[in-house]
Amino acid sequence: MSVRTRDSLGGRAAIVGIGATEFSKDSGRSELRLAAESVRAALADAGLTPADVDGLVTFTMDTSPEITVAQACGMGELSFFSRVHYGGGAACATVQQAALAVAAGVAEVVVCYRAFNERSGRRFGSGVRHREPSAEGTALGWTLPFGLLTPASWVAMTAQRYLYAYGLTPEDAFGPVAVTARRHAAANPAAYFHGRPITRADHAASRWIAEPLRLLDCCQETDGGQALVVTSVERARDLRQPPAVVTAAAQGAGRSQEQMTSFYRDDLTGLPEMSVVARQLWRGSGLAPADIDVGILYDHFTPFVLMQLEEFGFCAPGEAPAFVAEDRLPLNTHGGQLGEAYLHGMNGVAEAVRQLRGTSVNQVPGAARTLVTAGTGVPTSGLVLTADGAVEG
């Protein structure tokens, strides 16, 4: 999708395999092994073998190089390998990269993966105390000496302004997002919070982390791996699983974009980079919010789920808390990163695929059109995934 004109990527590629490790707090094995396990599982799910793969895509933050994953999985020669930057903002863009490669004939079968020991190893939530004086390090450096050091705190700065702008309380605004995620996770055996739903009162009673964010506004931290297999729609139709067609895929960065500290622009009540993604996805898919059966919206912190609903036009600015409280859209049916696992958004893409296959633990009957998004508050990406034939090409 271009910012200005409709692209020709839609309907060319599909996700045909998904695979993950267990989601835990201490995997007991290397990040490379988690990557290899999830890649093998995704290929098995697709009915393909490592020998079929000629492309790999991951995050710049991943510690397992494509070439090493290829070796560890018994793959042969690769004609395409690529990485996407900006943390969780890469999630949907890995699929976009794969689809572009497949559509252009650069590769036939591309596996996207993300694996880490984010809980037992390097915890993002423990914050940043030091950055190198590169352009990127310096950008974050404006906040560090003052003690604004954690992802929760960077999100909280914008969340506070959102509450102020619409006269909301953190309990009423953010509580419904947390409760919805944990309700879905409670029914999901793969979720860390399986069997453990929460109430609005639990949310309101949880301790402050970075005010106005409480503990239950923050996603968990997870060890695990998730992989996705992408190939052409034509080849997908001959494979074992019903294809999840990439009907639209887009990346987005806004004006005056910072990596996580975009505090110096506009009114801080929305996510301009997600607006860039939204405009492209609606134009590319020809769909509108009312056409979407399931939304998988990136939820590392509750406030940005609200802003995404508003940027995509599911509701008007300031109305997302009520929209979520009223369950007007099946949302994060795997339990999200708040409830299932924090896999940098890749587990959300897998859930959209399950919904289209009809195999989600919280299945939406007849789900045929899904919206998935990647990291929020960062340069990001999104996908419209649909059942084969659900959208006219």
């Binding site: 105390r129 003052f146 003690g147 050091l149 914008t158 102020y164």
Partner: protein, 335 residues
């Protein structure tokens, strides 16, 4: 030693040491004294250097004095980043407890003159593989210091040390180290103390060539905002080009110091040693229209609110670091 295969422990140590390459050893260091005639005179007398260029009204400093302007003195380096201490501690832990300076290389880009105030940044440029010398076995650590005056490069000082286990003492692997008694454990405790002291300091500003002017201004108690010389748009954070018109030309304006709290966060968890939660961090919108993240001081954290009028103040933290912070404007404290 070069022709021997390293053991796995050595390999592992080397990998850990190499990870420090490229990390900062000193960030935004400031020379203890301006370049000055008395130090130049002492140097010339000690060296027996009678070059007339180093005396008189147009004197320059001997170029080889470069290091003299950045040395920490007997009380040590205040501005050292954590990485360098960690690297040396790792080597201490591995038994490389002795140190010898081996050589230095300097480049001189412009003469220094009395009155010049130098600032500098040091990076850990390289850590060698394990080497055996007559002194003992250890690792060469090379740092590179870029020295500036008024933001312009004045020279480069590359300094190499050998951190080694004295000949006759083996390099220790870490498990042996833990089982040792006596001196080594005391060293270990000292290292931990050093680590704790470093940890209790606020994170340093991240300073590079694009924003050094801002931190230089802060040091002089001036809050400088960039202004595009083509379209006059003010901008913050500092960048080498205008986000509005793309022009690379800029100058600065000094902020009046008046502002309001545009948004804020109260930090509770996780705790960081240099800060005492809960504490408030404000996004301050300056009267000039740009925003800056800073602390809101002299007001209880639960009295900070959006719209609170604030004014600038410069405060010193950790002895050597000046930061711009904001306090409620007179009469606004506990509104």
């Amino acid at each position: 030693m070069d022709d021997e295969f390293p053991t796995r422990d050595e390999d592992e140590l080397h990998t850990r040491l190499k990870a420090y390459e490229g990390r900062a050893a000193t960030v935004a260091g400031v020379g203890r004294d301006p370049v000055n005639a008395p130090m130049i005179r002492h140097w010339c007398e000690a060296m027996g250097d009678r070059n007339p260029a180093y005396t008189g009204p147009d004197a320059i400093a001997p170029p080889t004095m470069l290091q003299a302007w950045i040395m920490g003195g007997l009380s040590g380096h205040g501005g050292r980043a954590r990485a360098y201490g960690e690297l040396l501690a790792l080597l201490d832990e591995a038994g490389c407890t002795s140190v010898v300076a081996t050589d230095c290389e300097q480049e001189y880009l412009r003469p220094l003159r009395p009155g010049d105030e130098v600032t500098f940044d040091t990076v850990i440029e390289s850590v060698s593989g394990r080497k055996t010398t007559k002194l003992g076995t250890g690792y060469f650590v090379t740092t590179r210091t870029d020295i500036r005056v008024g933001g312009a490069s004045a020279g480069t000082h590359r300094f190499r040390i050998l951190k080694y286990a004295p000949a006759g003492h083996d390099l220790k692997d870490r498990d042996q180290d833990r089982n040792q008694d006596g001196d080594r454990n005391q060293d270990g405790d000292r290292n931990q103390d050093r680590g704790r002291q470093e940890a209790a300091r606020r994170p340093r500003p991240v300073v590079n060539r694009d924003n050094a002017g801002f931190w230089e201004g802060v040091r002089r108690h001036r809050l400088l905002v960039q202004r595009c010389t083509a379209c006059a748009t003010l901008r913050f954070p500092w960048l080498p080009g205008c986000g509005t018109c793309g022009s690379a030309g800029w100058d600065t304006v000094e902020a009046s110091g008046e502002g309001t709290v545009y948004s804020y966060v109260v930090m509770h968890h996780p705790p960081f040693p240099a800060f005492s939660p809960p504490y408030a961090i404000g996004l301050i919108e300056l009267a000039e229209g740009v925003r800056i993240v800073s602390n809101v001081v002299d007001v209880p954290y639960d009295k900070v609110r959006i719209g609170l009028p604030v004014e600038l103040e410069f405060r010193a933290y950790d002895d050597d670091s000046v930061l711009p912070v904001f306090r409620p404007r007179a009469g606004e404290a506990a509104a």
